[in-house]
């Protein structure tokens, strides 16, 4: 039996079995919005992830799964040059965005991050009001907005937070619950209208109800945004994503661990009919 069938959320499609509203995965022939080819990421001399190649399809949710330490966050950060902020981090290979090399000399990482936003594992609202948290991005990026109030409201609505906070926009973002804070962080990210949203384990600090809200939100957002999500929760990957990349850590001759991409395919296929034995072991819980 197809193990993912029972976990499909209404309105979310995986492996082409869902409703067309959120869309089946594009055929692999479609031009990906981003593409990694032969990407290795180093921390100093240590090669944390080796030779990764995979596409990121437009307006689809791509999940990255794999054991702890296999380099999921590392690869995710390489997609919007957040690695630049880590001293000693270095990327080789090519990450392209609409065909343009993100690591070319003349590319401004600030501009990259304006188009490719990120939501972090731990909710990290600014110590400012809810309103200012959402308005910060549009302000610093100099977005032309006719009404900041409308923009803030729309972002909070899109992040399914508006009803809970509409009466207390002036209170501190830190006064919200963990799940609300995470949705505030998502609202803050979509307020700048990025094209792609990267999420690093956005639900790891949340309870099942808050997690379900954020998963629904992701499905909703995938109508307009391309989403890449790192998750430890395989059910989550199966539920929300269209594509899944499975990473693992390999030990080389020098006893060094390097992250490797083992398998990338449509989520339905990866979970029902994995091509690689290691993927199968991992998703069936036989990972040692």
């Amino acid at each position: 039996m197809n193990p993912t069938d029972t976990t499909i959320r209404p309105g979310v499609s995986i492996a082409g079995v869902g409703t067309p509203s959120t869309g089946a995965p594009r055929s692999d022939a479609a031009d990906p919005v981003m593409e990694l080819s032969g990407v290795s990421v180093y921390y100093g001399a240590y090669e944390a992830v080796r030779d990764t190649s995979m596409p990121i399809q437009e307006k689809q949710i791509t999940a990255m799964i794999g054991p702890s330490g296999c380099g999921k966050s590392t690869i995710l950060r390489s997609l919007n040059r957040m690695n630049d902020l880590i001293p000693g981090a270095r990327v080789s290979g090519a990450v392209t965005y609409h065909g343009q090399d993100l690591y070319a000399k003349d590319v401004d990482p600030i501009e990259v991050r304006r188009r490719i936003g990120m939501v972090f594992q731990k909710p990290n609202p600014f110590p400012k009001s809810i309103y200012d948290n959402v308005a910060y991005g549009p302000r610093v990026t100099g977005m032309k907005v006719s009404s900041m109030d409308d923009l803030v409201e729309r972002a909070l609505r899109d992040a399914a937070l508006w009803d809970e906070v509409k009466d207390k926009l002036k209170t501190s973002g830190l006064a919200l619950s963990g799940g609300q804070q995470q949705r505030l962080c998502i609202a803050r990210t979509i307020a700048v209208r990025p094209e792609i949203i990267l999420m690093d384990e956005p639900c790891s600090a949340l309870d099942p109800i808050a997690t379900a809200k954020i998963e629904d939100l992701m499905s909703e957002l995938s109508n307009d945004y391309t989403i890449v999500i790192v998750t430890h929760n395989m059910q989550q990957a199966a539920r929300v994503s269209h594509y899944t990349a499975f990473f693992t850590a390999e030990v080389d001759e020098q006893q060094e661990r390097h992250g490797r991409l083992v398998e990338f395919s449509q989520t339905g296929k990866l979970f029902t009919n994995p091509a690689d034995k290691r993927t199968e072991d991992y998703i069936t819980g036989r990972f040692g």
């Binding site: 919007n80 957040m82 600030i110 991050r113 936003g117 600014f126 110590p127 610093v140 990026t141």
Partner: protein, 306 residues
């Protein structure tokens, strides 16, 4: 069913072993440490209280408006109508200038070192090491340096600006170190959140890091200024030793300052001088107290919780 049985078996009979919850055991280590801490506190506080009482009692007769409306005098016979106005104004001049000179330089240096400098580079680390060391240099050395370079070589002479520059240099390391601590206490996740939204480095620093660091910066700055205000040693070699019966009226004016004035009064044997000195000490303490309350106000106003 088995769990309760196991519990009663493995736990000693509490009433029999004298281990009952209600019976507080004495823990000699805890008690001794507590007493030691209280004793230290008492010593520190006792000394301070004794000093305060002494100056208050000694200076009681002089704690009136004469202190700031009258000029000091070198003649014991005229002492009844004397105050420390020129020293007070000198101190206010100097401390304002020190704030204007050393706070911008110190805070900007700290921002550079903390947010911009690549501390894997040898010159940045050398810089850091030097700042740490500068904080430990005796103030008289700064005075001599100021005399040689600023007063003589640069030709600024024994003036208010010379004193302000030297005191600024003296407390600059304190401002830098305190500001760096405050900046470092701002969580990295806040910076990352800002960058991930497409903010530039300066936007991140000026809109997120600095506002969050303001309480720490304010506290450190006031501590530094409080130290500058009480310094006498460097000023002694910078020409602020005599009685001055005029207020400074510009950067190139001669001056005296409260700590110097207190010092000169106390070296006189007449008890009237001691009284006036005690009054001046109370005045100096009041200024320091006022500055500290500004710091507390700023801290409470900008306090951030994560």
């Amino acid at each position: 069913m088995s769990t309760p049985t196991i519990t009663t078996e493995t736990r000693p009979d509490s009433s029999a072993s004298g281990d009952a919850l209600t019976q507080r055991r004495s823990r000699p280590g805890e008690v001794a440490f507590r007493l030691a801490m209280q004793a230290c506190l008492l010593i520190a506080f006792g000394v301070l209280a004794a000093l305060l009482t002494w100056v208050l009692v000694k200076g009681w007769n002089r704690l009136d408006s004469r202190l700031w409306t009258e000029m000091p005098t070198g003649l014991a016979s005229r002492l009844d109508g004397a105050g420390v106005q020129s020293a007070l104004v000198g101190t206010l001049w100097i401390i304002s200038l020190v704030a204007l000179i050393c706070l911008p330089i110190g805070i900007l240096s700290a921002i550079y070192l903390e947010e911009y400098a690549d501390n894997t580079r040898w010159y940045n680390r050398l810089l850091e090491l030097n700042i740490q060391n500068l904080a430990g240099v005796p103030s008289i050395i700064f005075g001599i340096l100021g005399l040689g370079i600023i007063a003589r070589a640069l030709g600024l002479g024994f003036t208010v600006i010379t004193a302000a520059i030297v005191l600024s240099l003296l407390v600059l390391p304190v401002v830098i170190i305190a500001t760096r601590e405050a900046i470092r206490a701002v969580p990295q996740s806040i910076r990352h959140a800002s960058y991930a939204l497409g903010a530039t480095k300066w936007q991140t620093v000026s809109r997120q890091v600095l506002p969050s660091a303001v309480p720490g910066i304010a506290t450190g700055s006031i501590l530094a200024l409080s130290r500058a205000i009480g310094e006498a040693a460097p000023l002694i070699v910078l020409g602020a030793v005599t009685f001055i019966t005029f207020n400074p009226d510009g950067l190139d004016s001669g001056y005296t300052a409260l700590p110097i004035q207190i010092y000169t009064f106390i070296t006189r044997s007449q008890s009237e001088y001691t009284e006036l000195a005690a009054g001046a000490i109370v005045l100096l303490l009041a200024i320091v107290l006022a500055m500290n309350s500004i710091a507390i106000f700023v801290r409470n106003r900008f306090e951030k919780r994560w």
